[in-house]
Symmetry: C2
Subunit: 496 residues, 2 copies
């Protein structure tokens, strides 16, 4: 999955799109209008799910900003190319259906909010992290100003009985303490009723990859409202887009509760990963194979969520949600303690690629990386997705570069690494003819697992240092490769 | 479950029990001899399981020390009363069968080791924890001297081809770095072969309560040996006592690996509990019901092991195993870092009863506890067991006492609280006639869940402060009780 960047010509700032929106509305006469604010990884797919509602026929408008980074998505969506390239075939299928029905449109014009019955908030809310040279988290902060601005752009023009459904991961307390007063004040200033609007919170559990659509449509959902009418409205709406017969909805008592649920959920996962980090290093020292230890323990149902060793944590959620939660406790609930245990989970995970690198260096012994040639297999943060946001591979890559190692990058899903603006190879065969010294498996893509091709290439070489940072090599592969090469695996001290 | 203390007369120090052991052996002619070192919560039950082996007919001897605290167990076992009172009916059943067969004997005489084919180590290995007044862990240490002495007592007299199977939770590295050299040296000094002995490690996953026997006999097991012959011998032996057809054994690569597995397993659980602690307090502040949040999140298979709020962690394992592991990394593997994340889990859990007390105090507002009368329902650390070792209820109880509150204790399973030498009531009705002010539910015993009796007693009273520290009250009960009383629940800020 990746965003397809396109030429977009001039940015339409200060130019109205009202005419096109009105004409879209005319073609979708009498339909309820759903507007999605934010066409990122969640919003874009939500627009497909809404335009292919299970029970209703909505007119769906996606809104994003007319900026250099976002306008091309609007143009692309309207011109017949869905802006997210996904391995899930349902994405293209849903998009083509919507285009055929003509009930999906994208715009940059906030005029769209004025005709919306339901507005879904899918914009980002970032945490600013400050880390030192050693990737140690020193400071974090949340700036709500652009989020507030986005909510104001709705309040200035929305219907007085609109349903605002927040899907963005927000600091707990946001719906009640931030969004509600903004909307209320805007409506008051506009001389409209200030007790008809509805604000609800329901977070998605989207999983980029082959089940992209299903991870929203065929999965459990938690929701809540700032009052009962809001919760009821959200429930009615969610039933039109999610298969609630198979995956019943869960209503929680307040928006604080669902907002906490989202960040707690991701903090739990981040913490589970962080928990294993020091054990991974202990296993390396104690000549233990931590993978077999974890597998043995996972037989207990009470221990199924125990995680495996690896190179680190990436993506948009686990790397920041615990901080968002801690910031909320400090700033919206006035408890300076924050959530130190969960924050520490992020701090530990941030260090994982450093530890992996240190383990590699120790095993390389006296070998200097200077002028050595290394191939990294995988740059995305997760197997079989093309998402490179906050990938731990970046930290590891930078350490190689800092030590004057020459690095080739391969990834079957990523052709251009946007964050550091680098081309990524689609094939790795040729690199092997290039007197390679080191091969690092850095993402557990299926293509690298039990790969006959890779095995053959390895066997044609001599004296490679093969470093499996994600534990994909099998016992047999390790045994076979160890005959000609030095093989090391993160979390395994039993190989020597 | 509790240990049945009995009068034992004079302690038989320096008196040989050889005659009785030889006579027991004569009655169990030609049987393989299994000796169990340590008749505590694990060893005593292991002696039953071995004397009721699935495939073999063993002669089983339990060994413990002729001390004030342990000798009564030996006497009791030999005189027809199994020393552990358990809610699992299989315990009594297995004991009676063994007594009838006459293949179970208990002794204090280490002479037993000399006739053993297999010796199972089930003695305790404690961590010394130092905490300040506020129950904050400041220091911890492990003293191996008495453990080493116990191993030496075996080495001095054991057969040269003995199988020593360690079940004690030990600092990783113990089998290889501590036990193996002791046994080897002892045998050498005795002029015996030093390469025929076998040392294996296989930890139990015993769960005191109604499935006491099954938690050993019908459950997964991990095992390993210091060499292949040791691992093979352990495998053969375990197959005679565990239903490995239903619960296959898992062999790990080294004793370091299984030793790490045990403490990792318990550290994971301790960490999962610790993770929720700060969220519980956040929920209390943000007027959120954390129980419903956790239930909603647990619907995800990746999040099933998420824990609920509560009063704290007790028992012999979770309160110390992470420290044992950290101590091992520092002292047996020379890495001063230890395992700070896991140690911090223990530190957080130790504070739970303090937090519960602080929450109660805050909700009590201006009410002074001095001369108030409180009833605590439950003193054991876990529902439906009688185990009070390291129960968090003790910390909570002490805070009440320190504040001059008059406290009555009830527990359906515990009649005498050994650690603080207090009588515990078996009935609580009368206490309600005693102008009670506060009722604290401190253990989630089934007897307190949906209890009609308790509800009726509550309804006969006025203006109680009911503090549910373990989340057993249902929504309906809370609603009903709130009409006449003030009800508060740990981890719930939504009740006011």
């Amino acid at each position: 999955m990746s965003l397809i960047n396109k030429n977009y010509g001039l940015l339409p700032r200060n130019i109205s799109d009202k005419k096109n929106i009105d004409s879209f509305l005319l073609n979708n006469n009498n339909k309820e209008v759903v507007v999605i604010q934010g066409l990122g990884f969640v919003g874009a797919v939500m627009s497909l799910i809404c335009s292919n509602s299970i029970t209703n026929d909505y007119a769906v408008i996606g809104v994003d900003l007319p900026n250099k980074d976002t306008y091309w998505k609007i143009k692309s969506l309207n011109e017949g190319v869905f802006p997210i390239k996904a391995s899930d075939p349902k994405v293209e299928e849903y998009y083509l259906k919507a285009m055929k029905k003509g009930n999906l449109y994208a715009t940059y014009d906030s005029y769209a909010y004025s005709i919306a019955d339901t507005i879904i908030i899918d914009i980002n809310l970032d945490v600013k992290k400050k880390t030192d040279d050693n990737n140690t988290l020193n400071h974090y902060d949340v700036d709500l100003s652009s989020f507030k601005k986005a909510i104001e752009s709705i309040g200035k023009i929305c219907k007085e009985n609109v349903l605002i459904l927040v899907e963005t991961t927000v600091p707990p307390g946001t719906c009640n303490k931030i969004i509600k007063p903004i909307i209320k004040n805007c409506l008051q200033r506009r001389g409209l009723s200030n007790n008809k609007f509805k604000i609800a919170h329901s977070y998605e559990r989207v999983m980029p990859g082959p089940d992209y659509i299903d991870s929203i449509q065929n999965f459990y959902r938690v929701y809540s409202g700032i009052d009962e009418k809001s919760a009821n409205a959200a429930e009615s709406f969610l039933k039109t887009i999610i298969r609630t017969d198979k995956f019943p909805l869960t209503r929680l008592g307040s928006t604080n509760a669902t907002e906490i649920a989202k960040v707690l959920e991701n903090s739990y996962r981040a913490m589970n990963i962080a928990f294993v980090v020091e054990w991974s290093r202990f296993a390396e020292e104690a000549e233990v194979n931590l993978y077999e230890v974890v597998e043995a323990i996972r037989m207990r149902p009470t221990h199924r969520n125990l995680m495996l060793p690896g190179i680190g944590v990436g993506g948009y959620c686990l790397t920041k949600d615990p901080l968002l939660a801690s910031w909320s406790r400090q700033n919206l609930f006035d408890n300076n303690e924050g959530l130190p245990q969960s924050v520490n989970g992020v701090r530990i995970n941030d260090k994982m690629p450093i530890y992996a690198y240190q383990f590699m260096q120790k095993e390389l012994e006296s070998i200097n990386l200077k002028d050595k040639k290394a191939l990294m297999l995988g740059v995305s943060y997760r197997s079989d997705v093309a998402d490179t946001r906050y990938t731990p591979v970046e930290t590891f890559y930078n350490l190689l570069i800092d030590n004057n190692c020459e690095v080739f990058l391969h990834d079957p899903y990523v052709s251009f690494w946007e964050e550091i603006e680098l081309d990524v190879l689609a094939e790795y065969e040729e690199i092997f003819n290039n007197s390679l010294d080191i091969v690092i498996i850095s993402t557990a893509h299926s293509e690298y697992v039990n790969s006959q091709k890779l095995l053959e290439l390895f066997q044609q070489q001599n004296n490679l240092f093969i470093f499996d940072a994600v534990g994909v090599l099998s016992e047999n592969e390790i045994k076979l490769l160890s005959e000609k090469h030095k093989v090391r695996v993160v979390g395994r001290g039993d190989i020597s």
